[in-house]
């Protein structure tokens, strides 16, 4: 499971499961102490792991 803010670059590597957080360098899981967004991102990752996927799958947060 890859949590990235650059889905273009991560996509080139064909990581199978990508959570695109749309943040910026140095904070792929969002702003400091924002537990709500951190949990939202991780939960999205968990759900994607539980899904059966057949090719690279990107979830945009």
């Amino acid at each position: 499971m890859c949590i990235t803010f650059r889905k273009d670059i991560t996509g080139l590597a064909r990581a199978p499961r990508i959570i695109n957080t749309g943040t910026s360098a140095g904070k792929p899981l969002g702003n400091p102490r924002d537990k709500m967004i951190q949990r939202k991102i991780i939960e999205s990752g968990f759900r994607l792991l539980e899904e059966g996927i057949e090719d690279m799958t990107i979830i945009n947060i």
Partner: protein, 158 residues
Amino acid sequence: MLNKLRITTALIKRRRPDFEFKTFRNAPITPLTKPLNKCKLALITTGGLHLKTDPPFDLTTQNGDCSYRKLPGDIRQEDIAISHKWYNHKFINADLNCVFPIDRMREYVEKGRIKSLSEEHYSFMGHIYGTEGLIKNSIKVGKGLKEIGVNIAFITPT
């Protein structure tokens, strides 16, 4: 998105004219073979994190440092040093979980969403231009994690 990638590539090529992003054709899909609440999870980052007691990553090598550092399962924010100089450290200095969400994962273990966390997590450097050593070391880390029963890895590029 393509423009952003072209701009990034062009910026890197100013320093490394021969640079091209490594690309792969196929995604290696590994299905989850048991429920999440039976799984052991590890974190891997490319944030250049390491224990204060461990040697820093080498920022002087032309192709980048392909080595890695082990981070113990009971790691705390105050144990961490950062070698990586190409991202702003103000976020991670305020909250390790911006890059390395260990506290959130500990909560998920307590809630029973996942079974356990690995006794060891790993950190690599970013800004690596020669990826051969990186591929070799990432395979080594992956095998090691598998040997200690890890089922899931969350990877956080910075």
